[in-house]
Symmetry: C2
């Protein structure tokens, strides 16, 4: 760590913070704000790993990084954005999910599996997500972070639109199907799933996911 660069970073970031939400300089250049940004991310990774996703707040991270919480919000939006950046994810899964669940439970199975395949088959975000899952499966610290993120951002968000008493369990089961799709298709690469095209997967998986969301509501259990 270069202490004087960090201090310059703080100074630049403070100016940046006052500039009505607009960064100075070009995003690609390693200027002051990007040094501060990296420091916030490094602190966030340590906090997430030590305390998990749920117990970590923007305020804590800001305090650890000696910056104003407004600056963390300015850089990363809300906690899920900070998480995505700290885990080096090129997309924020929570943002993708917000779009997918916005239209309610009808057709959610199909929208979810299509969006999931889109992000995981993307050549940039796919490998980053594979790295995150590998890490969550082998390191308890990373598992704790992913567990909290899944609970707060994925399971809770899906459950919120289901409107039924067992919504949270059903949302966690649907999430488990997506985790299994990720592991079987992209990590262990079980055939024919690993080579199947999106339409074939959607045709069979959308009804299975949908049964978690609306199964037993408009039809009797068989």
């Amino acid at each position: 760590m270069n202490q004087s660069a960090d201090e310059q970073g703080d100074a630049a970031a403070s100016q940046c913070e006052g500039a009505e939400g607009r960064p100075r300089g070009r995003p690609g250049r390693r200027t002051g704000p990007s040094v501060t940004r990296e420091r916030v991310l490094s602190v966030a990774r340590a906090r997430f790993a030590a305390r998990g996703y749920t117990a970590t707040t923007i305020r804590d991270v800001a305090a650890d990084a000696s910056v104003d919480p407004a600056l963390v919000h300015y850089f990363f939006g809300t906690k899920d954005g900070l998480f995505a950046a700290a885990m080096a994810l090129p997309v924020n899964p929570a943002v993708v999910l917000r779009g997918v669940v916005a239209d309610g439970p009808e057709g959610l199975g199909e929208r979810l599996v299509r969006a999931f395949l889109g992000v995981w088959d993307d050549p940039v975000s796919g490998p980053a997500l594979v790295a995150l899952v590998r890490s969550a499966v082998t390191h308890e610290g990373a598992a704790e972070v992913v567990r909290g993120f899944m609970g707060n951002e994925v399971v809770a968000r899906i459950a919120s639109v289901l409107g039924r008493p067992d919504a949270t369990l059903r949302a966690s089961l649907a999430a488990s199907q997506l985790v299994g799709l990720a592991v079987a298709r992209y990590i262990v690469r079980v055939e024919p799933l690993a080579s199947a095209d999106h339409d074939s997967i959607v045709a069979s998986m959308a009804p299975a996911l949908q049964s978690y969301f609306t199964g037993g509501l408009e039809e009797q259990h068989r």
Copy 2:
């Protein structure tokens, strides 16, 4: 490795092989046959890791271990039994699965998830399976072995009873749901799935799995 112990092991195992399928001595004692058995397992692990599940034969393993293939069959039954023993699994998933699929596709979703939860929540076989999944997710050699086992013993076996053109893809999707259940419940421990009782999981997951097996056959796609 103790060479002379191995040689004694071979001699004892040869006697054992002639004894009409009955081992001499008590299973818990480290006598000759158990030394040979360990050597076969060590060779099998190396073969599975180097060549994968599909390309490994009992004959190859026997040759590598300088024993008669009949002895390997005598110790481990078929290749799936050798695999389970080599991976230190206290149960052979292929044997459990054979029992589950024997009654055909009707009700298969429920039988499958109940059997799966039984094996994974077992205090002996559960941790061994967690170790196998962790290893498959992080090491390509182990992934290759698990991929071959899943394809040959799990996906093919489920597909064989479905009797429909897309049976193999559907079987691999069902397998992915079980992989996801394992990772989300037992490894990452996403709530409320991690703490849910078997009946609650079965009530929601059995219909989802069943939709892979018989969905779209007796009802129109909604």
